[in-house]
């Protein structure tokens, strides 16, 4: 398993924690089960992106965003 795939699964574990709340997260929003191929770099990157967008909002990844 690649290092990034390992980190990604760590991130999922943290998000799946029932007590986990990021101040910007919207926990009421259904969390889509990502279709994920851990061997595929693009798939892993997309999953990271979806986590960041969910937690910090879509603006987080925009140019000049936080």
């Amino acid at each position: 398993m690649s290092r990034w795939a390992y980190f990604l699964l760590n991130a999922f574990a943290a998000m799946a924690d029932a007590e986990y709340t990021h101040p910007h997260a919207r926990p009421d929003e259904p969390q889509a089960e990502p279709a994920l191929d851990l061997g595929d770099r693009a798939s892993v990157r997309a999953a990271f992106r979806s986590i960041v967008e969910r937690e910090w909002g879509p603006r987080a990844l925009e140019e000049g965003g936080r």
């Binding site: 699964l9 574990a13 799946a16 999953a47």
Partner: protein, 905 residues
């Protein structure tokens, strides 16, 4: 001056305020009133102001109000203006005469107050023309009325002249000085940090409980922080009130002086009663008497809890100090009478009310000591026993109770107290029980300190054999002494030491108590006497569910250890650990941890072993049980060896050896060879493994009184075969058969069959496969996996590859579960040799540890981290950390995914 300011702790804000005041008064006059509780440090701040003023070339005039001069007119003004006597003579005549008469420097009719006020004002403003003048007045609450009027007059008219007035008074008291319109600074008690800093600077040797108690009592009052240490003792006496120094007494008693007698007695009752519970006190006295104390702000009634709360803890001390002996006795008697349902506190109050020896009360206190000891509060038990000794009718009873206190202290890890008590007990004429308890306490102190175990054994055995107890098995002192003698014999580990123990066991009449009897057969030399004790062991285990006596649980655990039945009492062991974590007795917590470490190791819960061993090491060190620390080092070493941290394993083993050698602890020395054997075997250095295993017990011999030898039987035989010592391997297997170790436990049966399968013929091979297939065998995860791996090697060499691979797959799962990396690698290598192609690349099948598996299961069932944490007695963070590892191991992205992943395992 710098020194004066430097000594003030936590007063940065107030000092800044004073500096500002000094600055502003020089440029046009200013006034500052300093207010605060007695002892809070007002005088120190005033002294700092005077010092800073003098350093800045101000003319500083100081005066203090005195309680006994409050009725002498102008007495304060006299003090304050005396240094300006010459200047007074230069005032205009009318003003000069008025002030001269007022201050008592000359005769004449009483002057008008306004004349004196104006004279003083002119005197000060004139003097200030050459040098700014600072008036420093302390204890304003005690200044005489006429001086107060003048001071108030001056204070309101200093604007424009470089004259400053700084005055201090107590909160809660009124004075003649009209404070209206004057700037105030209130001095609060010191912060916890500043108070701690002050204590650490002034009393650097004061630490631990005593320091904590001081901070608690003083509540940030600097005077109390400085004065109390002289009278503070490290007492666990539940009724103790700290005595006050004269200065503190003056401060706190002054506030009580005006209380009606009935109120004072009520406060005395409340102080001794301790809880302040209004309902309890109502049964003893009329609570209407509380009102004056409430008005004087000494106490308040907390309506929500229904309790009387003292505004400062030292008020209680002052109350006690002001009471007479007769009043104190009566108060204790009244409280004892009101506590029929609380024998422990009742005994304490009766003891406090006793004027001389009183055997009945002493006996009640002794019983109370047993009650609190069962709760795990050794210090309170010791205090009860010492007081019981003081009240004893006869020196024999007194010595026996002191010795019991010393034993309690030694067993609970309070060596300092125990040593002193022991000396006291020995100085008194001793009855037989006292002598035995004293010897018992001494022996425990010796092994817990630097003493050697041989001397401790000799001393205790001597006390037992010369004791006048008639060998009555029911004698509690004798029973305790025999348990300690067993412990010492185990540590010493030689046949001679055990012979003394068994000789004395045989003398007990009518028969040894149940646990001691079972222990004497299962603990010292299990391979020879353990199996026959199984029925008695069943009875002990059957009685456990309702058992309240934690000491019996601990000893039952020790009794079942070598017969591998600790798994049947996990719940009780956790109970021992939990009570310690919740502030209970550390000695029982340590026993629980020892039992759990052993049980977890055998069952493959190695993560838990590492957690509990770390906890045990910490508790043993912190709670005064250094002689138990080695056992937790041993557990850490064994896991380190199994997981491939070889250097750590050897270092820990060496640490145990270095500690055990000077103390003569042969058993600990033998145990230290276990991690060495395991590390060497895991590294594949079978020559070294053989050497370490035979250091514990030679090949072909099951050394007597070396229970740890059963743990390396398989290692010894495997290492012997790997190094070409077929004869030795066979001899050891035969010795095990001759001793019928299979009768000890299913685990020992597995090991015997495993050894047989390596050494003997096909029939033995078939038998080990049957044994391995039996339900429950894989419970002994490490040993079952080791046996499978070794046996598979033998099968592979005989070209029975399929059969070999079956065992290797099972072994690989086992080793992966425990995180036993070197064994996992060996298994993979063996698998490749047995023709398995997948072993080269595939990750171990879902290598979850047992704890991870448990957490994953609970999370999959829908529990939150918090719920899982509560269920498993972990912190939610730990649960989170486990899940952090579990997700990548199972390759899942959600809790829901866990369930499917688990089903696939």
């Amino acid at each position: 001056m710098v020194a004066v300011v430097a000594e003030l702790f936590g007063r940065e804000v107030e000092l800044a305020r004073i500096r500002g005041f000094l600055d502003s008064m020089r440029h046009g006059g200013d006034v500052l009133m300093v207010r605060g509780e007695p002892g809070v440090g007002k005088s120190a701040l005033l002294a700092a102001a005077a010092g800073l003023g003098a350093a800045e070339s101000l003319r500083v005039l100081s005066a203090n109000g005195f309680e006994f001069e409050a009725d002498v007119s102008y007495s304060l003004l006299n003090q304050l203006l005396l240094p300006l006597y010459t200047d007074i003579q230069r005032l205009p005549p009318a003003l000069r005469d008025a002030l001269t008469v007022a201050l008592g420097f000359g005769p004449g009719p009483a002057p008008a107050t306004l004349l004196v006020c104006n004279a003083t004002l002119l005197l000060l403003t004139t003097a200030a023309r050459t040098r700014p003048v600072l008036l420093v007045v302390d204890d304003v609450q005690w200044i005489d009325r006429p001086s107060a009027v003048v001071l108030g007059f001056v204070a309101r008219r200093v604007q424009g002249a470089p004259v400053g007035v700084i005055a201090a008074s107590r909160t809660g008291t009124e004075s003649f000085l009209d404070r209206r319109g004057l700037a105030e600074v209130t001095v609060e008690p010191l912060s916890d940090e500043a108070a701690g800093h002050l204590v650490d600077t002034r009393f650097p040797t004061l630490t631990g409980r005593l320091r904590h108690r001081l901070l608690d009592l003083a509540q940030g009052n600097p005077l109390a922080l400085v004065e109390l240490p002289g009278s503070l003792t490290d007492s666990a006496h539940p009724l103790d009130v700290v005595p006050l120094s004269d200065r503190l007494q003056t401060i706190f008693a002054a506030r009580l002086a005006d209380l009606p007698e009935a109120t004072r007695l009520l406060l005395l009752l409340a102080t001794f009663e301790g809880s302040g519970d209004v309902r309890t006190l109502r049964g003893m006295t009329d609570l209407a008497h509380l009102a004056p104390a409430d008005r004087a702000q000494l106490v308040r009634v907390d309506d929500t809890s229904g309790r009387i709360v003292f505004r400062h803890p030292l008020i209680q001390s002052a109350i006690v100090a002001m009471s007479t002996y007769a009043e104190r006795r009566q108060a204790h008697q009244a409280i004892a009478a009101a506590l029929p349902g609380d024998p422990e506190r009742r005994a304490w109050h009766l003891a406090a009310a006793s004027a001389g020896p009183d055997e009945a009360v002493a006996a009640q206190l002794e019983e109370a000591a047993q009650v609190v000891l069962r709760r795990g509060d050794a210090l309170a038990a010791i205090a009860s026993l010492v007081r019981a000794a003081e009240l004893s009718d006869t020196p024999q009873d007194a010595a026996r109770r002191l010795a019991q206190a010393a034993y309690t202290g030694a067993e609970a890890g309070v060596p300092g107290d125990a040593t002193t008590l022991l000396a006291d007990a020995q100085a008194m004429s001793q009855g037989p029980a006292g002598a035995l308890l004293a010897a018992n306490a001494t022996a425990l102190l010796m092994i817990n300190g630097d003493g050697d175990v041989h001397t401790a054994h000799r001393l205790l055995a001597g006390a037992i054999e010369t004791g006048d107890h008639g060998w009555r098995a029911a004698d509690p002192a004798l029973d305790e002494a025999m348990h300690t003698l067993m412990l010492l014999s185990w540590f010493a580990g030689s046949t001679e030491h055990w012979a003394v123990f068994h000789r004395n066991m045989a003398r007990l009449v009518p028969a040894p108590p149940d646990i001691l009897s079972v222990l004497s057969r299962t603990f010292p030399d299990p391979v020879r006497t353990g199996a026959a004790a199984q029925p008695d062991l069943d009875a002990l285990l059957a009685a456990l569910p309702g058992e309240q006596d934690l000491n019996r649980i601990v000893r039952t655990g020790t009794a079942v250890t070598h017969l591998d039945r600790l798994g049947e009492m996990r719940e009780q062991c956790w109970r021992l650990v939990r009570q310690g974590r919740e502030g209970g007795a550390p000695q029982w917590q340590l026993s629980g941890l020892m039992h759990l470490c052993r049980e977890d190791y055998l069952a493959g819960r190695w993560d838990e072993v590492e957690e509990l061993a770390a906890e045990g090491e910490r508790v043993a060190t912190d709670s005064g049980f250094p002689f138990l620390r080695w056992y937790f080092l041993l557990n850490q070493a064994v896991i380190a060896a199994g997981r491939g941290r070889f250097r750590q394993a050897y270092e820990l083993a060496d640490e145990i050896t270095h500690w055990a050698v000077p103390r003569g602890l042969a058993s600990s020395l033998a145990n230290a060879h276990l991690p060495r054997t395991m590390a060497a075997a895991a590294e594949g250095d079978f020559e070294a493994a053989y050497r370490h295993a035979t250091d514990i017990s030679p090949a072909g011999v099951l050394a007597p009184y070396v229970p740890i030898a059963t743990w390396v039987m398989f290692d010894l035989v495997e290492a012997a075969l790997r190094t070409g010592r077929t004869t030795e391997a066979r001899a050891h297997a035969e010795a095990m058969r001759a001793a019928d170790v299979t009768a000890l436990s299913p685990r020992m049966r597995l090991i015997q069959h495993g050894v047989d399968a390596l050494v003997f013929d096909d029939e033995a091979g078939e038998r080990i496969e049957q044994t391995l297939a039996e339900p429950g065998t894989d419970r002994w995860l490490f040993e079952a996996s080791r046996i499978r791996l070794a046996f598979a090697g033998k099968l592979r060499r005989r070209k029975e590859l399929l059969r070999a691979r079956t065992h290797l797959f099972a072994a690989r799962t086992g080793f992966a579960t425990m995180g036993a990396e070197p064994w996992l690698a060996r298994t993979d290598a063996e698998l490749r040799a047995a023709g398995d192609r997948s072993a080269a690349t595939a990750p171990p099948p879902a290598a979850l540890t047992p704890q991870e598996l448990e957490i994953a299961g609970l999370a999959a069932s829908g529990l939150t981290n918090k719920q899982i944490a509560q269920r498993l007695d972990l912190s939610p963070r730990t649960v989170g950390a486990h899940l952090y590892r579990i997700f990548p191991k199972l390759g899942v992205t959600s809790r829901a995914g866990l369930r499917d992943a688990l089903n696939e395992i």
